[in-house]
């Protein structure tokens, strides 16, 4: 019997709900209410997320975000600041019980195992992706995906982004730079260091095409079946509560 996981596609939501729903799924998984889950989602409005240990004031140009209507949120995972473009980027989450065969005690090894699903999926599209420790996926040395992972409540939670299209100029309008003088330089260097699915393939790739390829990659790489499901009432209610009491609050977002 092939192991059955739940596939969720929660599409467009705001940053606070997106991060709250991830945590809600972790809680539901830890209580055994839901199976292991792969979730795809996107951000509306476009948003910036920062790593657990980062300082919001230092990483994000708050004024630019407010002006452009871009949300900003702190993640429950470490890692760096990410600009989540509504139309340029696909985000995924994996929520897996910690004693699962795919999960190693070694964090680095677990990153690699879980990222392999994405690597395989991207290769199905013709993108020769490779895992690059600690937590990146690259194509010809250029970053196409960043990932972050945590564990707790006997559950491993990894989420990450896959760049479909990339706009470094907008990216560095909302992320802080050490000084205005070097903003152009940073944008140029990002253009050299970062790529996207469409940029590499030189053609349009829809979110549907990208998701289908990734689903195939995860199925093969994890040796699982993925069946489309819905979020439970428990997850929905927990997510709304976490959005209200945690992810949309100043206390959480500006705590460091």
């Amino acid at each position: 019997m092939v192991e059955k996981w739940r596939l969720l596609d929660t599409e467009l939501n705001d940053a606070f709900y997106n991060m709250a729903l991830d945590e809600a799924i972790v809680i539901a998984r830890s209580r055994g209410i839901v199976p292991n889950t792969l979730r795809f989602f996107r951000w509306e409005p476009s948003s910036v997320s920062i790593g657990y240990f980062q300082s919001m004031e230092e990483e994000v140009d708050i004024e630019a975000c407010n002006r452009l209507g871009i949300n900003y949120v702190r993640r429950r995972t470490g890692g760096g600041a990410v600009y989540h473009d509504r139309d340029g980027e696909l985000t995924y989450s994996l929520i897996i019980n910690e004693d699962h065969r795919l999960i190693s005690k070694d964090f680095q090894k677990t990153y690699e195992t879980l990222c392999l699903g994405l690597v395989k999926g991207l290769r199905h599209l013709g993108v020769p992706a490779e895992f690059k420790p600690i937590n990146d996926i690259v194509v010809n040395g250029k970053k196409i995906s960043g990932n972050a992972q945590t564990r707790g409540m006997n559950v491993v939670h990894q989420h990450g982004t896959i760049l479909r299209k990339v706009d470094p100029t907008l990216m560095f309008t909302v992320l802080s730079v050490p000084s205005e003088k070097i903003r152009d330089k940073i944008i140029k260097s990002v253009e050299e260091r970062v790529t996207s699915v469409e940029k590499y393939l030189g053609r349009g790739v829809s979110f549907e095409e990208l998701k289908s390829a990734l689903i195939m990659g995860f199925k093969e790489s994890f040796d699982i079946e993925l069946s489309s499901g819905e979020i439970t009432d428990f997850e929905k209610q927990t997510a709304l509560k976490l959005k209200r009491e945690k992810y949309s609050t100043k206390e959480w977002n500006f705590r460091r």
Partner: protein, 94 residues
């Protein structure tokens, strides 16, 4: 408030904000894009460092002790990197 940044070999960035208190660590905030599990213990680590002399070897030992006691895992950063960044902040004028 003294500040410093330290780029770890391999890519992660640590930032430290520090108040000095007679050659020792006063208030301290460690931020950056590294990974530490469980995350919530970063504030306890910062508290644990208060009063520690601004001596690289002692800071490394202090962080190691805390990590061992609490069963913390670090990824992309080592106690030596935190210590280097703290010392760098401590050397600053500000």
């Amino acid at each position: 408030m003294f500040r410093s940044e330290y780029k770890v070999e391999g890519g992660k960035l640590i930032k430290v904000q520090l108040n000095k208190d007679d050659g020792r660590i006063g208030a301290i905030k460690i931020t950056g894009d590294f990974f530490m599990y469980p995350e919530g213990l970063i504030e306890d680590l910062e508290k644990f460092l208060i009063g520690c002399p601004l001596n690289e070897t002692i800071i490394i030992e202090t962080i190691r002790k805390f990590i061992e006691e609490k069963g913390i895992t670090l990824l992309g950063v080592a106690p030596e990197d935190f210590a280097r960044c703290i010392i760098k902040a401590g050397e600053g004028v500000g």
